[in-house]
């Protein structure tokens, strides 16, 4: 779907999306990384469970909600990647513990 135009070189970090290791560039957002994945969606909605992908990329639409290191409902477009970060596609309603 999307691809990076340049090679980040030494600025590369590794994050884990649903357990799969993915390379990313330091400083870019989780949502940008997710848009490059073969699985296009990043969450399912809380009522109809329909899949959603990052959309506005500026913190408005809340379509890119993900859980990061166990903390739920973070906006992927406003959260920069960190090396070793564990991202989970949020499915339906959050449970109280995550």
């Amino acid at each position: 779907m999307f691809r990076k135009l340049h090679n980040p070189g030494s600025a590369t970090v590794t994050i884990y999306i649903d357990g799969c290791a993915v390379t990313a560039e330091a400083g870019e957002s989780i949502a940008a990384v997710m848009l490059r994945q073969p699985t296009g969606w990043s969450r399912t909605t809380s009522i109809s469970q329909s899949p959603r992908a990052p959309y506005c990329m500026m913190g408005v639409c809340f379509e890119c909600l993900v859980a990061v290191d166990g903390k739920g409902s973070l906006q992927g477009c406003l959260t920069p990647v960190r090396d070793g970060m564990r991202v989970t596609r949020q499915q339906g309603r959050r449970s109280l513990s995550a």
């Binding site: 809380s46 009522i47 903390k71 739920g72 309603r93 959050r94 449970s95 109280l96």
Partner: protein, 372 residues
């Protein structure tokens, strides 16, 4: 169409009365206010609630009990009439108690209410922490929670859907609704009433004033002094969560949509629906003392509404003695009492007079002689 009856006020109270009248084949015209008006129906918490209510006013306890008993039938009928689901649950409700002292105080408060009731089986019981944990298997309670009172008749429903359903159903039953219809003046017109609106005049043989905080000025014109003041209630709501709270609690409930409603403050007596950081902090603190894991959940909205408070906090249902055919209906628990408003109250108004069961709620209880 000349209406049999005009209901002034399209909030939860006025709409329930108008719906009940329309179901009784009255030709009803409902006059609803403006979007910018103070509308208590915006900040309803959605509890259908009995426990703890009616101290020093046994008639209110009895009225509330009747309404909780009528609610299931009311909900079934209204859902069928409107096609809108109300998500009523009446599996009981909780009031969490912090510390052993808090638990004991709650027990004494409910016992006092029970004694004032004068007979009947208690419809509540006290739960210690172990019993409470058995009732809420998925919930990790905070260390200060000593237990809770459990009210068997308590429950909750979706208050926004309730209001929408009432409006849909009364239209389907032939009632008319006028929005942004502000009544500026009420005048007698023979045995009828003339209502002066902006640019229009209506006439009806009977009227019901259910205009919330706007009721005092209208009621005065038909000879009823109705003392009212606003009481602000601030409410918080969280993002949607998977169902974990099987029962509603006083000030804390999980809605059918998964959100957690937290509330409500009693923190102001002005015509002011702004929100305060202090309230957000105190409501959040109170809630995380009960369920600490909620600290990690996102709040999505914080808003406020104004309760309609009489001097003793209890409702006013009255017909004017000087202007027969003019009724007032005012209260702050419009959701709980909706079942009574749509049945017993609407029935009485349709028949033309309020029976003795409503007499404890007449406004004359506030009339004070000017000189001793």
């Amino acid at each position: 169409m000349q209406p049999d009856i005009v209901v002034i006020g399209g909030g939860t109270v006025g709409a329930a009365v108008a719906y009940g009248l329309a179901m009784r084949r009255q030709k009803v015209l409902l006059l609803d206010g403006d979007d910018g008006d103070f509308r208590a129906a915006r900040a309803n918490f959605g509890l259908v609630w009995l426990q703890g209510k009616g101290l020093d006013m046994p008639a209110y306890q009895a009225l509330t009990r009747s309404s909780t008993e009528l609610w299931r039938g009311f909900s079934d009928e209204l859902e069928a009439e409107s096609g809108i689901e109300l998500f009523l649950e009446q599996n009981g409700g909780l009031a969490f108690c912090l510390g052993e002292e808090g638990l004991e105080k709650r027990r004494l408060d409910l016992l006092r209410l029970h004694n004032q009731r004068g007979g009947g089986e208690p419809d509540w019981e006290m739960l210690d922490r172990a019993a409470l944990e058995r009732l809420l298997p998925g919930v990790a309670l905070g260390p200060k929670v000593a237990g809770a009172s459990f009210g068997r008749r308590d429950g909750h429903a979706n208050p926004l859907r309730l209001l929408a359903a009432l409006h849909v159903a009364l239209l389907r039953r032939g009632a008319n609704v006028r929005h942004r219809a502000r009544v500026n003046r009420i005048e007698p017109a023979g045995a009828d009433f003339r209502l002066v609106l902006n640019g229009e005049t209506l006439t009806a043989p009977r009227i019901v004033i259910a205009a919330g905080l706007g009721s005092s000025a209208l009621a005065r014109q038909v000879g009823l002094e109705v003392p009212l003041r606003p009481e602000r209630g601030q409410v918080l709501v969280t993002e949607r969560l998977a169902r974990f709270l099987p029962l509603p609690a006083s000030g804390l409930r999980q809605t059918d949509e998964g959100t957690i409603m937290i509330g409500a403050t009693k923190d102001g007596h002005d015509f002011d629906v702004s929100t305060t950081t202090e309230a957000a902090a105190s409501l959040s603190r109170k809630t995380t003392e009960i369920i600490p894991a909620l600290a990690g959940v996102r709040l999505v909205r914080h808003w406020a509404g104004l309760r309609i408070m009489t001097p003793d906090s209890y409702p006013i249902y009255a017909e004017s003695r000087s202007h027969p055919g003019a009724f007032v209906a005012i209260c702050h628990s419009g959701v709980t009492l909706a079942a009574v408003h749509a049945s017993l109250l609407a029935e009485a108004i349709a028949e033309g007079s309020l029976p003795d069961t409503f007499s404890p709620f007449h406004q004359r209880r506030f009339d004070v002689p000017q000189a001793a």
